[in-house]
């Protein structure tokens, strides 16, 4: 129970019982003392670290944060170039389409005029011989 008290904790009434038991039991008191010594020893380790390490790490981190910025700017610049280049191309295509459509329309109008005019003139051509009679 002395070990469990250290590892996961025990209920307050169990802790009270443990206290009174350890006061009377030399074996458990020694066990508890050894466990406490181990925990104290574990907490006494202190590692030396290079004071410049933090700066090296921060430099690496800063480089990582700055890295995506040029990529973003490149992407933005590419988008702007694309838009600027696309506008005249779009206008050219649109004008060409319009010209083509106009030409087709003119052709259609002309062909209709030539087809429609003779038909419209048909009664005239038919009534002429009667009139002449």
């Amino acid at each position: 129970m002395a070990g469990e008290a250290r590892i996961s904790g025990i209920a307050p009434q169990d802790a009270l019982w443990l206290r009174s038991h350890v006061a009377d039991c030399a074996e458990c008191a020694q066990y508890e003392e050894e466990v406490e010594g181990v925990v104290r020893g574990l907490r006494s380790f202190a590692f030396d670290i290079d004071p410049a390490m933090n700066q090296r790490i921060l430099n690496a981190a800063a480089g990582r944060v700055r890295q995506p910025m040029p990529a973003r700017w490149w992407a933005l610049a590419a988008a702007v170039v694309l838009v600027v280049a696309a506008v005249p191309v779009y206008k050219g295509v649109r004008d060409a389409r319009r010209e083509k459509a106009d030409a087709l329309l003119m052709e259609e109008v002309e062909s209709r005029v030539w087809r429609v005019v003779p038909v419209a003139m048909e009664p005239l051509t038919q009534s002429q011989p009667e009139g002449s009679k």
């Binding site: 070990g3 250290r6 590892i7 996961s8 066990y31 050894e34 466990v35 010594g37 181990v38 925990v39 104290r40 020893g41 574990l42 907490r43 006494s44 380790f45 202190a46 590692f47 030396d48 670290i49 290079d50 390490m53 933090n54 090296r56 790490i57 921060l58 690496a60 981190a61 800063a62 990582r64 944060v65």
Partner: protein, 188 residues
């Protein structure tokens, strides 16, 4: 007493949320503050986990870079150090696994650190008594002992960090403690 505990947990929660917000923004000022606050604990954790002093700086540096890269993954619901340690843990284990695949010829060229880092880190007689035993202890036991007695993490937090059930974590701490206790007893 309960009021005090509540205040501590509330401020802890706010702190974690503040860190999460800063990491989402990749705030370098916050990262500087975190490095200054947690760097020693990170190094100590990696040292206890692997006992490889020669690799620890590289792992620590890569851990912070990953903290920046994956900052969005930290939601501020757990303590920052558990998230930090879990990144460091995965990184160190992956690296050690990769190193095991190098040929013997390559491994021979690697500098060997023959002195246990625990011997040089023992600052008093009690630590010195444990140093050699600690070096011989399995890494999972050392890790569990550090997280429980140095970092004061709960069994649940340790379980979450190491990805093992709570009874397994408790068993690791119990076994590690017992092995060190027996060594302690024989040394005295």
């Amino acid at each position: 007493m309960p009021v005090e505990v509540m205040q501590i947990s509330q401020s802890g929660e706010c702190e974690a949320e503040r860190i999460a917000r800063g990491l989402r923004r990749k705030d370098l000022t916050l990262v500087r503050e975190l490095v200054e606050r947690y760097q020693y604990r990170l190094v100590r954790y990696l040292m206890f986990l692997t006992a490889r002093r020669e690799c620890v700086e590289d792992w620590a540096q890569e851990t912070w870079v990953r903290v920046l890269d994956r900052g969005r993954q930290y939601d501020g619901r757990s303590r920052f150090e558990t998230w930090l340690f879990s990144i460091a843990r995965n990184l160190a284990i992956d690296d050690l696994r990769r190193r095991q695949n190098v040929s013997l010829e390559e491994a021979r060229n690697e500098p060997l650190d023959l002195t246990s880092p625990f011997v040089t880190a023992a600052r008093n007689e009690e630590a010195a008594r444990l140093a050699s035993a600690l070096g011989g202890l399995e890494p999972i036991y050392r890790e569990a002992l550090l997280l429980r007695f140095h970092e004061d993490l709960s069994l649940q937090e340790i379980s979450h960090l190491v990805g093992a059930p709570i009874p397994t974590v408790a068993s690791r701490i119990r076994r590690g403690l017992e092995r060190l206790r027996l060594h302690w007893k024989s040394a005295s």
